[in-house]
Amino acid sequence: MARKPDLRRFPGFLPLTLLCIFLLYAPLIIVAIYSFNNSASITIWGGVSLRWYEDVFWGPESDKFKQAAINSFVIAVAAATTATVIATMAATAMLRSGSFRGKGASFALINLPLMVPEIVTAVATLIFFSAIGFSTGLLTILVAHIVFCIPFAYLPIAARMQGIEEVYEQAAQDLYATRWQAFRLILLPLMTPGILSGFLLAFIISLDDFIITNFVKGAGVETLPTAIFGAVKQGIKPNIMAISTLLLAVSILFVTLSYFAGRIGQNRK
């Protein structure tokens, strides 16, 4: 058997790797470190403190950020839940209904939003809402988020469903289960890890979104990302670093959860 070429032997592999890792993570690490800075400057280190975290929770701008955080959280939960239900139904229809005309096109259509530049979706969504006279506000953000979360929820759900052989549902039907019972008692429990993973991914995508939200939000309605952007426009204060670090922590937590949820039960066959 031919040995795989060992990538580590290529000249310059190590420095290139380190450079990439540095470029990816250095800004995040600097922000995280400076969020604990006991100084009003964003560049001069003045010792360790939690004053900017205090500022986020109890400072003069705390009400604005709190409201934005609540909006973000409510929208993320509602959008991820709805998108997960729709994605589960779509996956069931596409993977468990045999072949139908336009199956290939359906796959492409549901995943296309991942490829469309977000700014295009944002502009199009705004034009669409104003065309149908849907006044902007929390609800427009929610509708927009549901729509772009669907493909993100769909991917892990469909991947999971593809891994479950149809013979389980056939066995259930053979044992007198209706199609609905076969779905509810067999397919759905087996899909739970995929569904959970899809939900968490959709949640984090919604929580994170700036471009579309910024276009379709009404005046005075802010989510965390738009609130941070608004604050940065008036100059970067260290409290922005604290709030960004908090958001980063939540993101990392959810992505990690999503990863482990997707792996649950993968070993049992």
Binding site: Q170, Q173, D174, Y176
Partner: protein, 359 residues
């Protein structure tokens, strides 16, 4: 037994199944008797599994009727057919323990939790798995999973049990043990079994009757002895066990007897399969029915080209004058005369050992 006049459990009446232009089943007719262990035997892709799936309700039939004790079930969905299946891959529900797997069908039929649990206990007893009732399927060996699958299918008390190559994933020793067990369980429960396999030994040892299937058509139906000793056609003779197919010219067929001319010119009268006709044909003779003889006056003569040692037996290949090879299986005993390689030998077989086939 097979020939007794029991009620017809399953009547497969002219069933065809088409996938586009491909004919998976072609006008299949079978009458399976009550309490029968019936096997569908054929090579992979012959349509036997398709037929099973049509009976279970996972495939629609293109034409014909499937009657279960007189009721046409061909248009019912699988959950409305009193038929249960043991799947090839078992398909145990991985998120339920053994007991809940076995209870599944009973609960769907509306039995109470307590009733279903009691019945599951009984069936697990039958397949000797009581001590594993609380295990998850992933914690069981292949043989145990197979028995859970059997228990799960038996628990609702189906009128008909379908088994789709349930032994193919087991190793040889286990397979032989499970064969006996399956037969025993079939006798104890009195449920009609339809068993699908490509393994002729499995079919011959377990079945009351066997249907040999090839290319979506039933080639022959009969007991193990019928299809082994009285094959109707070339496919059946060749597929079941080993056989010599000797080219003959047939002078005439009268009733169930045929007058043939063997290669080398000897005249020979033998039984003929139904539908055999005069002209060119094939004679089937099992190797163990061929014996060596003095070349002078023998039915066939040729030279020994190969000898294969098989332990209890020895296969001797003899090349005839027309280059056909005929194999004789000799018992390995001190009394057997083993010929030398390249020797000229004669071959003999009794009239009843040969059979003129339909090509």
């Amino acid at each position: 037994m097979a020939e007794s006049q029991g009620a017809i459990a399953v009547d497969i009446d002219n069933v065809s199944k088409l996938y586009g232009n491909f004919t998976a089943l072609s006008a299949v007719k079978l009458a399976i008797q009550d309490n029968e262990f019936f096997t569908l035997l054929g090579p992979s892709g012959c349509g036997k599994t398709t037929l099973l799936r049509c009976i279970a309700g996972f495939e629609d039939i293109s034409q014909g009727a499937i009657r279960l004790y007189g009721d046409n079930i061909a248009d019912l969905p699988p959950n409305h057919r009193p038929v249960n299946t043991v799947f090839q891959q078992y398909a145990l529900f991985p998120h339920m323990d053994v007991t809940r797997n076995v209870m599944f069908g009973l609960l769907r039929l509306g039995r109470s939790e307590a009733e279903a649990r009691a019945r599951a206990g009984e069936v697990l007893e039958l397949v000797r798995l009581s001590q594993f009732a609380d295990r998850m399927p992933a914690q069981l060996s292949g043989g145990q999973q197979q028995r859970v699958a059997l228990a799960r299918a038996l628990a609702p008390g189906p009128k008909l049990l379908l088994l789709d190559e349930p032994l193919s994933a087991l190793d040889l020793k286990l397979r032989q043990a499970v064969r006996l067990e399956l037969q025993q369980i079939q006798h104890e429960t009195g449920i009609t079994f339809i068993f699908v396999t490509h393994d002729q030994e499995e079919a011959l040892t377990m079945s009351d009757r066997i249907a040999v299937i090839s290319d979506g058509e039933v080639q022959q139906v009969g007991s193990a002895r019928d299809i082994y000793e009285e094959p109707d056609n070339k496919f059946v003779a060749d597929f079941i066990g080993e056989t010599n197919l000797i080219d003959v010219s047939v002078a005439e067929v009268a009733g169930d007897k045929a007058l043939c001319t063997l290669p080398g010119g000897a005249q020979f009268t033998c039984p003929a399969a139904r539908g055999a006709h005069s002209g060119q044909g094939h004679l089937s003779v099992r190797p163990e029915r061929v014996s060596l003889a003095d070349p002078a006056g023998a039915l066939l003569t040729g030279t020994v080209t190969r000898m294969i040692y098989l332990g209890t037996d020895m296969n001797v290949d003899v090349r005839l004058s027309d280059d056909e090879i005929v194999t004789a299986r000799l018992q390995n005993s001190s009394r057997t005369r083993i010929p030398a390689m390249g020797a000229t030998v004669g071959l003999e077989f009794e009239e009843g050992a040969a059979r003129l086939l339909v090509d």
